[in-house]
């Protein structure tokens, strides 16, 4: 998407966010966040108090001001997190211009109607340079389509009737040819509409874990409310009169404002990070689930291996030289336009055989691949040159292959490759070793996943032998060979029965049930409408390895939440040491040793704690939005590291911070 490169901290995001921070002061919105709502109430009461405490006006007013800042900073964080999504939604809306559609009516004639009047089931015709009026399925024809409005990818894609590439999205443009489309979405329910809503966060709902965390924060707020309110009677008993503003300051410092203020920003930012990687999560729940995934189901083709197999070696039969095999193999492949065939031609060049063009071979008759012969090749200069699976060639040659060819076939199979036997009508010449090329860096990546406790399972239609070899090379933990689409669903169900969470990526219609069943089902944007509806995420790039990034983002989101919660609670220790002695110092001067930070005066101590409490929210916005740095380590290691940083660090940092602020406050004679 065009706005993807926008940094979150650009003025065009930050400036509107300031205004939004004020708009979000609406109590009806605030009440959804109990922690910040209590802070807001505190701010209001202190503001009123500022006018009613003559000797203390400056102090009370300052406290009130910083309490307002605390609330505004939290609102600001949320507004910034929403900012980029809003900008993107705006950009998307602009692409959705009013269009007319060529609707085919029952009599087969074309009438021009408003795109907004189209309903599910209508059939429209889209010609070159026209905008596709709504989401639909191609029922006839093929076309190149510019989908950059949605994916940001400017290279056109091919969409055709039948198969897994028949879905088109409203708002994209046909660049060539003409297609007939059956509409699959009513106005306002299309992919683009949904995308705008999601990007904007309009229909954002709290995720299960967010709800649970909000309950925790609310309960802590209640407990601290109790602790602070009861201080009033305890004070009366002890002969100390705590003023409202002091109690409010203590309360606001103790309730988890840091995480309370940043919680929703963290969630929004998590979805936003996915969006930057061109993954559209249909709900925050899916992002959260991504962090929990135990098993990754990966299709071999396209995810683990490059889509196509390549020739890597020629294995000659006895009495035949390698170049001879290469020569025959090339001849047999000249007319073979499949990637495999082309790779044979390329490999043969290594033996000094230049690639010949078909027209350079007069009299050659090409024999295409058929399901009956399962061989392809060429009849040229009286020779019938063929290449094909061992079984087919064996039949072609009358039932048997030389022993060393049989051996070569077996060896290639065992190593995970595909053997193709090259033969003339007289005898077998040798074997072409076709190999699945495993994508680079995957083994490393899978190792990282293993360290995090995530199991990877490769799914392939290959036989056991081949599957095992590739599985080993790619470094996956397990594989399912000779898999039919329904096996995938069965595997997911079986793993889920054992309590595991499953992620998978898919595109075809036959993937839809599995995508729906999986806890995280990522549909490729190139995939069918059914697949896109079944999954809970859509990868606009249609890149299967994206699943790995999705999981990392999910984990990062959860870690950020946990880290800031821990940090927020750990902060309270220092705040106690700042405020409690300050509250009691006048009546009980003996407790001076508790003032471990040697803060200037009771007023400056309280003010400094409140200021720290507000500033830490602003200071942590970048962390909340970018997420805690994720390291692929085992749980124990991650926990220890984060505990040290956010737990122990959370205890120590405010001591330093409050002391520094106190120095400034005292230096400026603010209190």
């Amino acid at each position: 998407m065009s706005t993807n490169s926008v940094s979150i901290f650009e003025p065009r995001i930050l400036v509107p966010a300031i205004g939004d921070a004020f708009l979000k002061l609406n109590p009806r919105l605030m009440v959804k966040n109990p922690v910040m709502f209590v802070t807001l109430v505190g701010a209001v009461i202190s503001t009123v108090d500022a006018f009613r405490s003559p000797g203390q006006t400056l102090f009370v007013a300052q406290i009130a001001l910083w309490l307002w800042f605390t609330v505004l900073f939290a609102n600001f964080a949320e507004a910034v997190a929403e900012g980029r999504g809003k900008a993107q939604a705006k950009a998307l809306r602009q692409t959705r211009t009013r269009t007319n559609a060529n609707k085919l009516n029952a009599r087969g004639s074309i009438e021009s109607v408003d795109a907004d009047s189209l309903r599910k089931g209508d059939v429209v015709l889209v010609r070159t340079n026209e905008i596709i009026p709504a989401d639909g399925e191609i029922i006839s024809g093929a076309a190149t389509v510019d989908e950059s409005a949605i994916t940001g990818e400017s290279a056109p894609v091919i969409r055709e009737a039948g198969g897994d590439r028949s879905a088109v999205t409203g708002g994209t443009r046909v660049l060539s040819d003409e297609i007939k489309i059956r509409i699959t979405a009513n106005p306002g329910e299309g992919f683009l509409d949904r995308m705008i809503q999601l990007v904007e966060g309009a229909s954002r709902q709290k995720t299960p874990n967010e709800i649970a965390l909000t309950i925790l924060l609310a309960a802590l707020t209640v407990v601290f409310l109790l602790a602070v309110i009861t201080l009033k009677p305890f004070g009366i008993y002890s002969g100390v009169n705590f003023s409202d503003v002091v109690l409010i300051s203590l309360l606001v410092c103790l309730i988890p404002t840091t995480i309370g203020g940043l919680l929703s920003a963290i969630g929004i930012a998590g979805m936003d990070r996915l969006l930057q990687r061109n993954v559209l999560a249909m709900s925050g729940r899916a992002v959260e689930a991504a962090g929990d995934v135990d098993v990754l189901l990966l299709d071999k083709t396209g995810t683990i291996t490059l889509g196509n197999r390549q020739a890597v070696a020629f294995l000659p039969a006895s009495g035949v030289t390698e170049p001879e095999v290469a020569d025959a193999a090339q001849l047999a492949s000249l007319a073979d336009e499949t990637p495999e065939g082309r790779s044979v031609v390329v490999l043969a060049k290594n033996f000094g055989i230049r690639a010949r063009a078909i027209h350079e071979l007069p009299g050659a008759r090409f024999v295409p691949f058929t399901a009956q012969t399962r061989m392809s090749g060429v009849d040229f200069e009286g020779r019938q040159i063929r290449k094909g699976a061992a079984e087919a060639v064996r039949k072609f040659l009358g039932g048997s292959l030389p022993l060393e060819v049989e051996h070569a076939v077996e060896n290639v199979s065992r190593s995970g490759g595909t053997p193709l036997v090259v033969a003339t009508h007289e005898r077998a010449l040798g074997v072409i070793h076709l190999k699945d090329i495993v994508k680079g860096g995957l083994a490393d990546r899978f190792k990282r996943f293993r360290a995090m406790g995530i199991r990877t399972v490769m799914i392939t239609g290959d036989n056991q032998l081949t599957a095992a070899a590739i599985a080993q090379e790619a470094g996956v933990d397990d594989f399912l060979a000779e898999a039919k689409p329904e096996d995938k669903l069965a595997l997911i169900r079986q793993e889920q029965q054992g309590g595991r969470m499953i992620a998978m990526i898919g595109d075809g219609t036959n993937d839809a049930p599995a995508l729906a069943q999986a806890d995280v089902g990522v549909a490729m944007n190139t995939g069918t409408q059914a697949a896109k509806e079944a999954g809970n995420m859509v990868d606009l790039d249609s890149n299967p390895t994206k699943l790995l990034e999705i999981i990392e983002i999910g984990k990062q989101l959860l870690i950020t939440r946990g880290a800031l919660t821990t940090f927020s609670i750990a902060n309270d220790v220092a705040k106690y040491f700042a405020i409690i002695p300050a509250m009691l110092m006048v009546t009980f001067p003996v407790i001076a040793p508790l003032n471990v930070m040697h803060l200037h005066s009771p007023d400056s101590a309280i003010l400094s704690a409140v200021i720290f409490n507000a500033l830490i929210i602003i200071a942590l916005i970048p962390l909340a939005l970018r997420g805690v740095k994720f390291r692929p380590l085992g749980a124990v290691e991650i926990l220890r590291r984060n505990l040290l940083i956010y737990g122990v660090g959370g205890v120590i940092l405010p001591f330093v911070g409050i002391k520094l602020i106190d120095l400034v406050v005292a230096g400026l004679h603010l209190a």
Partner: protein, 599 residues
């Protein structure tokens, strides 16, 4: 803090460690309805007969609501039963001292106190309770309330260990088996041992003994109506009184003391509780009482590990409890051994530290250890007066109670209390490993968090709420023996002790007033059932969940990191909730003491 005392502490710890596994294994059999024990030949027929008499179908398990309902009904009925006996004790037999009936508020307070395993006593046993009241009304609850506690813990452990299950056990079966196979046999042996140490067990009226040396004491003069006489300046008028006789308490003591300790009840037979020579005759009886206090709480952690097939987790929970126990003992012991600086300046300090309110027979360590153990275990039995501890020494028992009685804790209650913190820890820190929180394979979701926090908020609410109310009310402050911060500590201690179902008292508070009896009664009820019911709901919810198999990415609930985290959560959450109140109480008092002010 000499070598001899260090050795005693070491022996105590060793004994606690050694008893944990065997008792845990035994518990495992007791808490499993199909479990087998070597007592089966004798007790199995009795157990079956009990079910038949009660009309209980032992094969049918309860879901959490049925379990909670059965538990509540049982507690209600047994509580009313005790209330009735206490109100009618003057008409009932076995009352050689002819004690009158208890007032309604004292009877309510006492019945609730014993039903909730608190054993807070607003009365002195030897001059209030008939033998029947002691043996039937009170001792029976020592067994029942302990058994209920263990049953709840067992149900919660089942909830954690089971998956996709609807039920968490049968309350009546749990109760019966715990009574027959666990509490009664051990108590029988313990009681016999205590008798061997010189503890009494009889139905004789109190004995009056003639003093060999009559003693003269100076007491405040009272007029005919019992009011103290004051002189012109308002000061008390003193007169000398010569004492030549002494009343010696008698009664069925050993049978009650065994369960008082084993069931972490703590309700003393006498007002002096375990400081009384009959209730705690020898150092050996003292040692065994302390061991009896913690052994079931300790063994239950082993049971947890065993049931969840994660023994390391059981030991991790144990270690967290143990670490806090040890820290408490050492601080308390150190503070008491160091003594009172003012006494030292005046030259009246005992060489061995602060001996005020302590039995000379036990000394500093045994008193500090007992105080720590009894408050860890929510027991409430005391062999010294915590009120007389130094402020820091007294802070340890207070803080122990305010952590929610989770350091081994009351039988059963300690484990389920600690599991609240375990769930809380897992929930807060669990996210930091990059997964939604899960505990032993169970996802901790909104409902579970709600239940755990409900239990937690209720506890904070009643402790702080009642103390705050008392501190600004006439009824609250007029019962205080001490003013200033110490008075606040007394009130805070009372409501903390009640809500935590501990029952130990910071002496000095006259709690037998209608207001205190009633508010403390409510405090105890909410502290017990306000916690148990949400916890049973948690057990039910956990039982229904699937178990996610553990892997490298699973939050570790074993090992040092987890133990540190758990201890941190217990202390931090405890401290954060109660620190403001504690500051105005013991902490201010401590600093005032250092400056020479005493209360």
């Amino acid at each position: 803090m000499n070598a001899h005392q260090w050795l005693e502490l070491a022996v105590y710890i060793a004994a606690l460690v050694l008893v944990t596994r065997p008792l845990g294994l035994y518990l495992n059999h007791v808490l499993n309805p199909a479990g087998r024990t070597w007592l089966d030949p004798v007790l199995r027929p009795l157990e079956k007969l009990t079910y038949r008499v009660l009309g209980v179908d032992a094969t049918k398990e309860h879901d959490w609501k049925q379990y909670a309902f059965a538990m509540l009904i049982f507690s209600l009925v047994s509580c009313l039963f005790t209330y009735a006996i206490l109100r009618l004790q003057n008409f009932l037999p076995l009352n050689p001292q002819h004690f009158g009936a208890l007032s309604s508020h004292l009877a309510f307070n006492t019945a609730v106190s014993f039903t909730t395993n608190t054993n807070w006593q607003s009365y002195g046993g030897e001059n209030t309770m008939s033998y029947l009241s002691q043996m039937v009304a009170l001792a029976i609850h020592n067994f029942f309330s302990a058994a209920v506690g263990i049953a709840i813990a067992a149900a919660l452990v089942r909830g954690i260990a089971r998956h996709t299950a609807q039920t968490i056990g049968n309350f009546w079966v749990d109760l019966t088996r715990i009574m027959y196979y666990l509490l009664l046999p051990i108590c029988l042996v313990l009681a016999l041992f205590f008798v061997s140490q010189g503890m009494i067990q009889n139905f004789k009226p109190y004995t009056t003994a003639k003093l060999i040396e009559p003693q003269t004491v100076s007491v405040q003069k009272t007029d005919a109506s019992g009011k103290p006489v004051v002189d012109a300046k308002g000061g008390p008028v003193m007169e000398n009184q010569t004492l030549d006789t002494q009343t010696i308490v008698q009664g069925p003591m050993a049978s009650q003391i065994a369960i008082k300790m084993l069931g972490t009840n703590g309700g003393g037979y006498t007002n002096a509780n375990a400081a009384h020579p009959f209730e705690n005759p020898t150092p050996l009886s003292n040692f065994l009482q302390m061991l009896a206090l913690l052994c079931i709480g300790s063994a239950l952690t082993y049971h947890l590990g065993r049931e969840t097939k994660n023994q390391k987790h059981g030991w991790a929970v144990w270690s967290a409890m143990f670490a806090m126990f040890l820290a408490g003992v050492l601080v308390c012991w150190w503070a008491e051994a160091k003594g009172n600086p003012i006494h030292q300046q005046l030259g009246v300090a005992v060489a061995d530290g602060n001996m005020e309110g302590k039995e000379v027979r036990f000394g500093i360590l045994d008193s500090a250890l007992f105080a720590t153990v009894t408050t860890d275990a929510s027991c409430g039995a005391v062999n010294s007066m915590h009120d007389s501890f130094t402020p820091l020494g007294g802070l340890v028992p207070l803080f122990n109670i305010q952590t929610g009685e989770v350091i081994f804790g009351g039988v059963g209650a300690g484990l389920y209390g600690m599991l609240i913190f375990v769930v809380l820890t897992v929930f807060i820190a669990g996210l930091m490993v990059g997964r939604t929180p899960e505990y032993l394979g169970k996802k901790i979701e909104a409902y579970d968090v709600k239940m755990v926090l409900l239990a937690f908020v209720i506890l904070a609410f009643i402790i702080l709420g009642f103390t705050a109310w008392a501190s600004v009310s006439n009824w609250g402050t007029s019962s205080l023996a001490n003013q200033g911060p110490h008075g606040l500590s007394e009130m805070l201690y009372a409501y903390t002790s009640g809500a935590g179902n501990n029952g130990s008292a910071f002496a000095g508070l006259n709690a037998n007033t209608p207001w205190y009896d009633t508010t403390l009664g409510v405090d105890m009820l909410l502290g017990r059932f306000g916690m148990i019911v949400p916890l049973l709901a948690l057990a039910g919810s956990l039982a229904r969940k699937k178990i996610v198999p553990a892997g490298a990415g699973t939050f570790p609930v074993t090992g040092l990191t987890f133990v540190v985290l758990l201890v941190g959560t217990v202390i931090l959450v405890g401290a954060l909730t109660f620190l403001p109140a504690l500051t105005l109480g013991p902490i201010v008092e401590h600093f005032l003491m250092l400056k020479g002010n005493l209360f």
